[in-house]
Amino acid sequence: MNAETTSRQPILAIEHVAVHFGGLIAISDMNFHVGEGELVSLIGPNGAGKTTAFNVITGFLKPTKGRVTFRGTSLNGLKPHEVTSLGLVRTFQRTSVFDKITVFENVLIGLHRRTAASLFGTLMSLPKERNAEAALREQAWEILKLVGIDHQADELGGSLPYGDQRLLGVALALAADPSALLLDEPVSGMNASETARFVSLLNKLRAKGKTILLVEHDMPMVMGVSDRIVVLNYGRIIANGTPSEIQNDPEVIQAYLGQGVKHA
């Protein structure tokens, strides 16, 4: 296994995390770092524990053992919204948008962290609150454009086609103003061309200095965008290295990649 191949400042550290569900061990020992501005992919067979790892990092699950730190702060015991407020935001593997609300309002809700309204001011309807509201709408609009679903702003979230719902999910996460973004299979259900467009969105985000941790089964994409790849199998890390190192790791090929890696 490779040593940490990053020279960047590690901001997210997963330290010897284990997760058990009753007798079932979903993660046995997970230990890796993500550096500032880095794009790290977490891959592995189905049921390896990737989503579980996301759940632990973002406070939806308490680890049985170990801890997670973000910019030096321990995340143990924090609630999901507290983790988010530190700038660590995730998307979900299963499509997750506010179904019965318009796309635009979805993003407005996502902007929750950026609102400056006070309860008193709101009830008194002070000018400051009204201006803040106008500013939010502006921001919502920008995010929709960035993700490329602005033409659907007035559609209901739930009536978007599957792929666009996934984009909306990303827009929601971006609205929460993350400095580090955790994406759980963002391009599943997208075809190659849609994926390519998503990759260019990823690149824009990287250019803005966002740190990204990506879970994805689309190997061409993962190999193309990742700075580094961590491979998980049965809750253990079996490899950690650059895309080319991973691509040729026999254990990874055996457990995960199979023979036809070079599709497309």
């Binding site: 009830l123 209901l156 929460a176």
Partner: protein, 346 residues
């Protein structure tokens, strides 16, 4: 047109005591108004945060008891300490009732929002039942089933101005009307703000809401505080208007009445509880003049069923849709949304 609707409604309702001769009808309007206020507060929980609270009458009753006891005075011994309270003016009672009910909202919110959905429904019912049983059995304070009679009517004024007692129906009617307007404005500002959006987000998808940084407890508790306090105000007004309360104020049917008002009117809409409240506040009066006792109830039940059948989202969304359609931008798929994007021209 739509913008002026609330003002037209207020003007109309403000004029009612001026031309309405029938005092009994005015009485019905006052009582319905009090229940509408309670229904509006329930709507905050049920309509905006999606928490089906079937114990809402607890806040109403707590407001009523606190207000009544404040203005009647009491003397109880708790763990050997004798606590005696001399009567205060009724207005202070209503304010205290509002505060105490709000605090109960806070406590219940903190505790009960650990559970969701069906479980919350039962916890809320249980809470109301426990409060009812306390009111029934803590005879020293509440007089238990013997009721608290002789609650003074509301008075307005200060020590140096002298007090005006609100005996009349018209005066009470205006007090209730003003309370409803204030509650309406508060709820409107709240739900159209980031606070309200957070509540709606929790209603729609809690996990997702958390993931964008919305604190579940904070917003549910906030809603519970406001809902509790407003229901408390309604309870206080009720106590001073009816002038007697007993543990029957906590009866489940009162919660059911509020729920009916909210859902038939249109949950999650500002005007819903008011429209529903007017219909189901007046329905018994209308029915009473035509049919026998059991049939009154049966028709009342059928009316509810009919409204839900014909207008599943409630009356107000249906009217809005109808308005929308006739003005040419119909969209019947979105009764729950707050607003459209109104893109800035950039």
């Amino acid at each position: 047109m739509k913008r002026f609707l609330p003002y037209i409604a207020v003007a109309f309702f403000a004029s009612v005591p001026l031309w309405l001769q029938d005092q009994y009808f005015l009485h019905t309007l006052v009582v319905s108004g009090i229940f509408m206020l309670a229904a509006m507060s329930l709507n905050l929980l049920l309509g905006y945060t999606g928490q089906l609270s079937l114990g809402h009458v607890a806040f109403f009753g707590i407001g009523a008891y606190v207000s009544a006891l404040t203005s009647l005075g009491f003397s109880v011994s708790i763990f050997g300490f004798q606590i005696t309270h001399e009567p205060w003016p009724p207005v202070v009672g209503v304010i205290l009732g509002t505060l105490v009910a709000g605090i109960c909202g806070y406590l219940i919110g903190k505790l009960a929002f650990r559970v969701r959905g069906a479980y919350f429904v039962i916890v809320s019912i249980s809470f109301a039942e426990v409060v009812r049983l306390v009111a029934l059995n803590w005879v020293e304070l509440t007089n238990g089933p013997l009721a608290l009679p002789g609650i003074p009517p509301l008075t307005i004024g200060f020590e140096w101005t002298g007090y005006a007692t609100l005996w009349g129906k018209a005066q009470n009617y205006y007090v209730v009307l003003v309370a409803i307007i204030i509650a309406y404005v508060i709820i409107k500002r709240l739900v159209y703000s980031p606070f309200g959006r957070a509540m709606i987000a929790l209603r729609e998808n809690e996990t997702l809401a958390m993931s964008v940084g919305i604190s579940v407890t904070k917003y549910l508790v906030l809603a519970a505080i406001f809902a509790g306090a407003m229901a408390g105000t309604a309870g206080g007004l009720y106590a001073h208007y009816i002038q007697i309360i007993d543990p029957m104020v906590f009866m489940f049917l009162n919660t059911v009445t509020m729920v009916i008002m909210v859902i038939t009117g249109g949950k999650g809409t500002l005007a819903g509880p008011l429209v529903g409240g007017l219909i189901f506040g007046l329905a018994p009066v209308v029915l009473r003049s035509y049919v026998g006792p059991e049939l009154q109830w049966i028709l009342y039940g059928l009316l509810m069923i009919l409204i839900v059948f014909v207008l599943p989202d409630g009356i107000v969304p249906a009217i809005e849709r109808w308005f929308g359609r006739s003005s040419g931008n119909a969209d019947d798929q979105r009764p729950l949304t707050l607003e459209t994007s109104k893109a800035p021209q950039s």
